[in-house]
């Protein structure tokens, strides 16, 4: 049912300019222009300033004057709006309004690696040259929808691709096309999205996007400095748009932080169109100093009536339902400038409906108003035109009976550039009441009732009740009466010009004859509303009632983002030092300031918290040399080298795997790029500081690593197409030789002092040649292992680590000689042809040949019990207990160049330790506590308590969602988000997007 009574637009004061050059073939040209004044209104000039009983004077689509004593010129049409509210029309900053649909290119049989376009940037997803203005065709239907939702202008752009080009600011004015386009180049847009207009493979990952953007900025600089000789129309366009507002659209807070970080590097402050989940890391978000344009597609409550399905719903999804409407408020209270957008909404009219939820929770109404008007105006440099109701600005405003952000608010009129659009009659006549109806001397009782703007009628004659259908539109009343038996209808109609005491009208009778009726008003029907409102307020969730955000905002999240390091004394433990001292019985270990401060007997506790570790084992935390947990994306397979990408860009601190790995005694991990290409990406080496932000997880002064890969994955034996070099192990070698040769040339140019084009890929390779960055190379068969060592030797560096290295045992002597370490699986094999000769004795043989050996997981499950995997080397190959334990602690620390900080229990090292109930190489062992830098991140007892809290919080939310459904609110079916474990071998993840 459409809510509005009528809608048409009237041209009040045609915007005729001094010298009109637009021909008009439809009518005799009107050369006059008049003023329009809206009088006696409550004018909300801006979010702070409200004028009561004021006048808004407009002419030629612009505001001439606003005030309480505005002198009206003679040729003024007056629209009296006593007590009505006038607000500036809203501004949509993210839209593809009027943009012709982008045609997707057809999928090719083989992946495409080169760009389609010539004369533009080498990557087709970078399209800063795209201009909204040249793809724009005014869309009346959509304009109407947007106006009904309160919008006056929209900033529209081609919502396709990564660097998307410029938007145009368009007024939603149907009639005067020549004044519609307010700014043909209003802003420059970005999004982590591939263009539909190309099949170019790169970038295929979030870190591919971030790397590409950095390189594009470098190339822009180079172009400006004449270091790129070819004509590049994309860069030229981008350079010319540098001073426009730069707007970045993302889907979640992690990508917001990622985008902002790139901006910081290149001196650009993006306005960010966010994901609506910024509340999850509010401090980091506030620190970006970006303005956030927020979507309001708050999640619907889940339908939790079926108790069997509830398990599929995570606490984090449920909490998001409850907290997303409070996002704007939390951001605003942190001092973040916020605006709103209809992006992600099915229909723009949901905007105010959803925003009401935020206001009900406590979002300040003036903040909300500013977020729809003045803030977005400023963000797209449109504040000279729109955003407030000030002299000289466009006559873009909405009129309503009630105040904005109240239950009864409805847009009655939306004026755009002086063009009036009416949806509700502001001169509303209330006909509700009790009447004495008389037709042909016959008397009836008529009761007209109103409920949320709709009327209904009850008609009785003594005890007999008639079926009555009443409508009241455009001041026309129509009442249809019938008695059920005879199915004969009387139709009563009347035009009502003012609040009636007596209604007179015409009746069309059953037999087609007409007569007249009168309805004498008796008294007003008693309102029952007040009572209802109280009830609503009681049921209304308040901000204080919301569950608190946890860090991360999932199950097992902590109350604070940062945990305090404590002074702790472990008493009487069996300490497996993993260092020279071997295993120490009945020994105390004092943890202070995040470090292992003292190891000895009978240490004094002082003010330390004492933990009785009698019969328990204390060890260094486990270090996983090869992991893909806590990552939003793993493989950038769009090129055969992706040295420019950084896994540090895509660390995801919200991954439950972090907590679960802590429960398995893991404290550090190298998060590697996948193995989709010979030269992968740069690693992120993290500590598993659950709850902290992505940046806090990454090691300070992290050693620099990069993933290389060999064999089946990089030659695309089991995935992808046949069009990417290399397709054989022969080609793999040549890829390395080619890139290192180019890197040498790049280094020479750089060292020569001549200007050069900065290339992040080459910079990374140069770091390898300079032995500042180390390689961890995914490898299986002996031939390729040998090959990479020879390549490295020819370029005067050595391969730091071979990872997987399942045939390492065949060339262990050569590895030892070269100085390469081996980080391997304990017993994996037979999943691919190249692991046919993989043996579980591999670690032992390499170890016996003097290779530094680690046991890694490459798997979100195995990382939880690497202690067991280390113990397998005792079974297969007879490694000693002491050495086996080093395979998951001291040795990976060595391989990662972290041996001075972690990996053993020695004084002065980081207090990354684990307390076990049994010897950690026993299958019966489990961690009791896991500490990183003196902070207890996992504790069996605390875990138990958290389980209880999770249960409680879930129940609270389930009850609230049940109540929401009972109240008739729309719900959505339960879905389960499943994060798959990423290993570099599971090549299902090449096309990774988002998050």
């Amino acid at each position: 049912m459409k809510q509005y009574i009528f809608m048409f637009c009237v041209l009040f004061g045609i915007t005729s300019f001094a010298q009109d050059y637009f021909p008009d073939s439809k009518a005799v040209k009107s050369e006059t222009s008049n003023y329009v004044a809206i009088t006696s209104a409550v004018i909300h000039v801006n979010a702070q300033k409200t004028l009561k009983n004021a006048t808004l004077l407009i002419k030629d689509g612009k505001i001439v004057e606003v005030g309480r004593s505005v002198k009206l010129p003679e040729n003024t049409i007056v629209v009296d709006a006593p007590g009505k509210h006038i607000y500036p029309s809203f501004i949509e900053t993210y839209s593809d309004f009027g943009i012709k649909k982008i045609q997707s290119v057809k999928r090719k049989s083989q992946p495409q690696y080169d760009a389609n376009r010539s004369g533009y940037y080498w990557n087709d997803h970078v399209r800063p040259d795209q201009e909204a203005k040249s793809h724009f065709e005014y869309d009346q239907k959509k304009a109407d929808k947007l106006r009904k939702a309160g919008f006056g202008v929209v900033n529209t752009h081609i919502a396709d691709g990564f660097v998307r080009g410029t938007s145009a600011l368009v007024a939603l004015n149907d009639e005067t096309s020549h004044s519609r386009l307010l700014n043909e180049k209003s802003a420059q847009y970005f999004a982590f999205d591939r263009s539909q207009q190309t099949q170019q493979a790169y970038p295929s990952s979030t870190m591919g996007f971030t790397a590409l953007l950095r390189q594009f900025y470098h190339d822009t600089d180079a172009y400006k400095n004449g270091l790129i000789e070819d004509k590049d129309l994309a860069i030229e366009a981008f350079v010319s748009q540098e001073n426009l507002p730069q707007v970045f659209s993302v889907e979640n807070y992690l990508n917001a932080l990622r985008a902002d970080k790139i901006g910081d590097q290149f001196g650009v402050q993006y306005a960010i169109i966010g994901g609506g989940d910024e509340y999850k890391r509010i401090d980091e978000i506030a620190a970006t100093q970006a303005a956030f344009i927020l979507p309001v597609n708050y999640p619907k409550a889940y339908d939790v009536e079926d108790p069997y399905l509830r398990d599929y719903l995570s606490l984090s999804d449920m909490k998001d339902w409850q907290l997303a409407p409070a996002n704007a408020q939390m951001l605003s209270e942190k001092g973040v400038d916020i605006a709103f957008t209809t992006r992600d909404l099915k229909s723009p009219d949901m905007l105010l409906k959803n925003l009401q939820k935020s206001v009900d929770l406590g979002l300040d109404k003036s903040v909300a108003l500013a977020a729809l008007t003045s803030v977005p105006a400023k963000l797209i440099n449109a504040d000279q035109h729109v955003g407030t109701l000030e002299k000289g600005k466009l006559a873009n405003f909405i009129i309503s009976e009630n105040e904005l952000f109240t239950d009864n608010f409805e847009i009655a009129e939306n004026w755009v550039q002086g063009e009036r659009h009416r949806y509700k009659d502001i001169h509303k006549i209330d006909i509700a009441g009790q009447y004495k109806l008389t037709i042909n001397d016959e008397a009836f009782d008529l009761k007209i009732k109103e409920k949320s703007g709709k009327y209904s009628a009850e008609v009785k004659q003594k005890d007999f009740k008639y079926a009555a259908k009443l409508s009241f539109e455009n001041q026309w009343l129509r009442l249809i009466l019938s008695s059920k038996e005879d199915k004969n209808y009387k139709v009563l109609s009347a035009k009502i010009d003012e609040v009636p005491s007596l209604i007179k009208g015409k009746v069309t009778l059953e037999n087609g004859n007409t007569t007249t009726f009168t309805a004498q008003r008796l008294q007003n029907v008693q309102e029952e509303k007040s009572d209802k409102k109280d009830k609503k307020e009681k049921e209304q969730l308040k901000f204080e009632d919301l569950l608190s955000v946890s860090y991360p905002n999932t199950a097992y999240g902590f109350k604070e983002p940062k945990q305090e390091a404590k002074k702790i004394l472990f008493k009487n433990a069996t300490v497996i030092t993993g260092a020279e001292k071997g295993t120490l019985e009945q020994t105390d270990v004092l943890i202070k300031n995040g470090k292992i401060s003292k190891i000895g007997q009978n240490l004094r506790s002082g003010n330390a918290k004492v933990i009785d570790a009698t019969g328990k084992f204390l060890t260094a935390g486990i270090i996983d040399e090869h992991s893909h947990i806590a990552l939003s994306s793993v493989n950038e397979g769009g090129h055969n080298s992706s040295a420019e990408v950084k896994m540090e860009d895509v660390v995801n601190p919200d991954d439950i795997s972090i907590y679960r790995s802590l429960a398995g005694g893991v404290t550090s991990a190298q998060l590697l790029h996948g193995s989709a290409n010979p030269i992968g990406g740069r690693s992120a080496i993290i500590k598993l500081k659950w709850g902290e932000s992505a940046d806090e997880l990454i090691y300070d002064n992290s050693p620099k690593f990069i993933k290389f890969a060999l064999g089946e994955n990089v030659k695309q034996s089991n995935w992808g197409g046949r069009s990417r070099f290399p397709q054989s192990r022969m080609g793999v070698e040549q890829v390395f030789r080619d890139y290192f040769t180019r890197a040498q040339a790049y280094g020479e140019r750089k060292a020569s002092g001549k200007p050069y084009r900065k290339d992040e890929e080459m910079e990374t390779l140069l770091e390898i040649l300079n032995q500042e960055r180390f390689i961890s190379c995914h490898s299986y068969v002996q031939s390729e292992i040998n090959m990479l060592m020879k390549v490295a030797e020819d370029f005067d560096f050595n391969v730091n680590t071979f990872t997987h290295i399942l045939e390492g045992y065949k060339v262990a002597d050569k590895m030892q000689e070269h100085g390469a370490g081996g980080s391997t699986f304990a017993d994996w094999w037979a999943y691919k042809y190249e692991v046919n000769d993989a043996i579980p004795h591999n670690a032992a043989i390499m170890h016996n040949q003097g290779v530094t050996v680690a046991i890694n997981s490459d798997d979100g499950e195995m990382i939880r019990r690497l202690n067991q995997e280390a113990a397998k080397t005792m079974k297969y190959g007879g490694v000693s207990e002491e050495d086996a334990w080093k395979f998951v602690t001291a040795n990976p620390a060595k391989l990662l160049h972290l041996e001075d900080r972690v990996g053993t229990v020695e004084e002065g090292k980081d207090a990354d330790v684990v307390l076990w109930n049994a010897h950690p190489l026993s299958v019966y062992a489990k961690p009791i506590q896991t500490l990183i830098e003196g902070v207890v991140y996992f504790d069996l007892e605390k875990d138990k308590k958290m389980r209880q809290e999770i249960k409680k919080e879930r129940q609270v939310l389930i009850n609230q969602m049940m109540a929401a459904k009972n109240k008739g609110m729309e719900t959505q079916p339960i879905k389960k988000e499943e994060k798959e474990f990423l290993h570099c071998d599971s090549l299902d993840h090449i096309n990774h997007k988002h998050n």
Binding site: S314, K875, G877, A925
Partner: protein, 430 residues
């Protein structure tokens, strides 16, 4: 010392003459063998210190402490442990050799209702994966097809045979059903965060399965009307075949319980059973046993206890359900040799050690219906057992000294140990 070394060289020489062929199956037991002095882990929850175990003609003839019972060849196993051979149920060993090589994959057939498809036909006794089980004490398996709604018929084999026929312990032991899932995956296979959405066709799929079972139960064959699939179903109704239903969700398991009541089976086992513990009492009452999913798994749901997969065996056992461990899933074949460590991990998270052992021996045999033959060190059963240096549920202790299948002294070498020795030699000789 010298003679031992010579012996080792001899072994090496013999081995290299076969280099890269699979291990040769051992010849039948010719003389009585007695294992003396070991701690015997019976498999039924008991253990006997300083035991004597005697077996002849492939069968156990004595288990106890009476030293005078020793006869034939005596193996001194003082300080060591003897276990019944471990059994890997719901396994695809021998059906696929290398995951990524399609030509080596024989684990699933086309179609929906495939009870007539038999795993034993594709079971490759010479699989390198199969022989790699034995050095860890995994000596038998239930070879099970995948795919389809009714995926086919499994058979139980021992892991030392020239051909599938000789490998059989029990042919066509059970029909396997993949119960419809209340949730199904949406989105593209390459999306990182794929959602599980409610399966709208769930009830339809359940009804379809029910209808199939009902029509199979009244199947009547004439010379003109023969349905091989329904014929293969008959064992399920006449008690010759067990029924294994692979199912995980609580609601679905509840539906399986109703299904059992409606169709009336005696030998029903749930495979997977991630949420079976939430219905433990009902399962116990209905006499339904559970092959619980791989202990080394991550929780299915973000909010679950981090150790839920580790402690599921314990929870179900304590509720009185007959439980055994299975290991299907990612890289299941190569990981099957970790079966004892699955049991060990369950112990770390609260399960009694002897109960854990039962879950890979006697309980498994009971569930598979072969406990009259194997599963424990008891007189009359197959002499399928092994001697381990230490605790076989421990990585550190699981070192096999000897293993016997039906009394045959099997090789504990494999493609992998051969490579190990070959390359160890290489370095020793350099």
């Amino acid at each position: 010392m010298k003679s031992i070394k010579q012996f080792i060289y001899l072994v090496f020489a013999v081995m290299f003459s076969y280099s890269y062929a699979q291990q040769t199956p051992a010849s039948p037991q010719k003389e009585a063998i007695s294992i003396k002095g070991a701690t015997a882990y019976i498999g039924n929850g008991n253990q006997i210190e300083n035991s004597i175990i005697v077996f002849e003609n492939g069968k156990i003839t004595y288990v106890g402490t009476d030293q005078s019972q020793a006869k034939g060849k005596v193996i001194n196993a003082e300080g060591k442990n003897v276990y019944p051979g471990f059994i890997a149920p719901n396994s695809t060993l021998g059906l696929v050799e290398v995951d990524a090589v399609r030509a080596s994959d024989d684990e699933r057939e086309l179609g929906k209702m495939l009870p007539h498809v038999r795993s034993i036909i594709a079971y490759n006794t010479e699989s390198k994966l199969v022989e790699s089980m034995r050095p860890n004490g995994v000596l038998m398996g239930q070879i099970t097809p995948r795919g389809g709604r009714i995926s086919g018929t499994s058979s139980i084999v021992q892991f030392d045979a020239w051909n599938w026929e000789d490998a059989i312990i029990k042919e066509n032991d059970a029909v396997h059903v993949n119960w419809p899932s209340g949730f199904s995956r949406s989105g593209n296979w390459y999306d990182a965060d794929r959602r599980y959405e409610q399966n709208k066709d769930y009830q339809k799929e359940v009804d379809e399965l029910k209808t199939y079972f009902k029509s199979a139960s009244v199947y009547k064959e004439t010379s003109q009307e023969i349905d091989l699939a329904k014929r293969a179903m008959q064992g399920v109704f006449d008690g010759n075949k067990n029924l294994f239903i692979h199912v995980n969700g609580e609601k679905e398991i509840r539906d399986v319980i109703s299904f059992q009541k409606e169709i009336n089976f005696n030998n029903l086992t749930i495979v997977g059973g991630y949420q079976a513990h939430q219905l433990a009492d009902e399962l116990k009452e209905a006499g339904i046993s559970v092959l619980i999913q791989r202990v080394h798994s991550v929780p299915n749901f973000e909010d679950d206890d981090y150790d839920l997969p580790y402690k599921l065996p314990k929870i179900l056992h304590e509720a009185g359900v007959l439980v055994a461990l299975e290991g299907s899933g990612d890289m299941e074949r190569q990981n099957s040799r970790n079966l004892p460590f699955y049991a060990g991990t369950a112990v770390a998270y609260g399960l009694d050690k002897n109960e854990a052992l039962k879950m890979i021996t006697l309980n498994t045999a009971k569930i598979l219906g072969i406990d009259d033959q194997v599963g424990s060190l008891e007189v009359g059963k197959d002499a399928t057992l092994f001697i381990s240096e230490g605790d076989a549920l421990e990585m550190r202790g699981n070192k096999l000294m000897k293993a016997f299948i039906q009394g045959r002294d099997i090789s504990l070498e494999s493609h992998q140990t051969e490579l190990y020795k070959r390359y160890s030699e290489k370095y020793e000789n350099e």
